[in-house]
Amino acid sequence: MRGVSLKPKSIDLCDDCSMLPQGSLKRADCKALCVLIADDDETNRVVLESMLRRDGHEVYLAKHGEEAVSLYEAVRPDLVLMDIMMPLVDGYEATRRIKTITGNHFIHVIFLTALTDEPSLVKCLEVGGDDFIVKPVSGAILRAKLAAVARIHGLYGELERQQRDLSIHHERLSYEHEVAERIFAKVIGSARSEAANIRSEILPLAITNGDLLLAAQTPSGGQHVLLGDYTGHGLSAALGAIPITDIFYAMTRKGFGIREIVAEMNRKLHATLPTGQFLAASLVEWLPRRGIAKIWNGGLPNVIFTADKERRVACIPSRNLPLGIVGDEEFKIEIDVRQISRRDRLYLYSDGLIDARDKEGRMFGQERLEKIVHGNVDRDRLFDEICEEAEIFRGSQPQDDDITIVEVLCDESLLVVDGLSAERHGRRPDYEFSVRLSAQILRNFDPLGMINGLINGIAALERHRSYLYTIIVELYANALEHGVLEMDCSLKKTPEGFARYYAERERLLAELAEGWIHVDIECFGDESSGELILQIEDSGKGFDVGAVSNEIRADTGIRIGGRGMELARSLCKSLSYDARGSYVRAVYSW
């Protein structure tokens, strides 16, 4: 170890900043730093200390490397001015230790050295030093270096602050994401019905899925299915799912058809979503009793229909704008209606399937999908075949988008039936008939006689004919007058109005050009016990069922429209209109 006395004591400091060339370094640049001076020579320490203090820096002193390390740990300075040759622990070793302690924190170490040989100077930097100043130290150079350190420190502090902000921000975001995910899962989870006729494959891209699949049974024994694909994925997509889910289930439960549901969803999304956010979707309204499915497609790829027995395949393309883009007045609804036989199927899927890429970057494509459908032999295997082909095609390629594939199997026996019809589930009616009365028929003859004749032919109903006839007459009259003819029943409040009402009815009926009434009767059981279900649907805009019912209570003496309905209701086990008032279902039991 070298003697202390051997060390050069030559620090040549200019005492006054004013001696520095103007412009190259101003005092303002020298932000106050916390500086640790490690030097075993007292004179060097004192001279340096007094200069740095005068410049406004905070100064700590260490007499050797050991002390430098422990002081460093205690005060965490911004800068260490490190002598190399010191007793106990030299400057190299002290620097190495300090740099180990600091970890990610930024600390500047500048060696002050009398050694000028290349290996010594290189070693300064190798052990973790940031710079060196050769003794004798010029005050101007030292100040300039300190100013540079202060600048870097400022930048570094800023960077650290930003990084901290960023990580706080990131944490908050992932927390909110998690919350959104839980809300989303709750909304979907509480609502998703386990429909036995629906199979689905959902491959979400983000934690929260941008694709939305909903299914629910209608009060009239049909089913609504929705597949939606939001702009983007994750949080924003999940948020938009909430109103859609609410509307879908609430309106389905109340008996609305998809036309009204689609209109309401569009209204809601247009009002709440910012421009640029929208929902591409397909909705299916399957009416097994009428043997049809209504399909609305707004922005999703072709819905595919496959007949069960024949080899028939059809595509229902998107004819509509996605939901939430334009307001009510611009929003046109185009619905495709298809005849559906038992075990026909519908396939809905998001564009993630069509746009999926293989490792060469080729798209899965509509044609490939349709080829699979056309090539299919066993319809029960088609859904699996599509999923498998998509899987094989994609290989290990990462997903670009959420992918959802849905199969709707139109088999009424798979639907979970409501309480009313539970006892008949899985049974065909003993008698059933269904008649669609076009405008031409309505205009030219009264179908009630024919319907009555059919009922008369059923032995089981012998003791119930007059009641049933009353029910049918009343409900049919409502469908014709308030539905197809769109007449206002308040006209019947006065005796004169009553006469005028029927004159008006004659006139409107004679001029009727379009419209229809669908009557559907199913009868179960025998003379001792049974159930008859009457369903009447009309093409009209519907009427306010609630208002009509209220009118009866307020106005008793005179026969008005609502009274007939009330009479029918009193004879039936149950009678319910859909929310619009254009579909009624009555159950009569004995």
Binding site: T231, G232, T275, F278, A280, S318, L321, I325, V326, M363
Partner: protein, 101 residues
């Protein structure tokens, strides 16, 4: 990220926005600045010649541009789409909202 190039016609009545490669969420900010920071124009042409991929957020961005244009009484033309992109626009029925060429 898509590179976006913006040019104005000589009489300043049309702004052409050209996008390259992928038009997706990553282009969001750049796309927005391409028209937000300029004086309103009577017409916008979205040049899709060099675009080979779009996603649904690109459709969203088109709607934002449309809103911006409508506010100032202008309109948007989507030009030079390749067949794949055209198909996507047709599925979304965007031909009702934009002039697609």
């Amino acid at each position: 990220m898509a590179a976006i190039h913006v040019s104005e016609s000589e009489n300043n009545d049309t702004i052409t926005i050209s996008i390259r490669d992928r038009f997706d969420f990553s282009s969001h900010k750049e796309f927005r600045t391409s028209y937000k920071d300029r004086p309103a124009s009577a017409g916008y042409i979205l040049n899709m010649r060099y675009v080979n991929y779009i996603d649904s957020s690109a459709l969203g961005m088109m709607l934002l541009l449309r809103e911006h244009a409508l506010k100032n009484g202008g309109k948007v033309i989507i030009a030079n789409c390749n067949p794949d992109i055209k198909k996507i626009l047709m599925i979304a029925n965007f031909e009702r909202l934009f002039d697609i060429q």
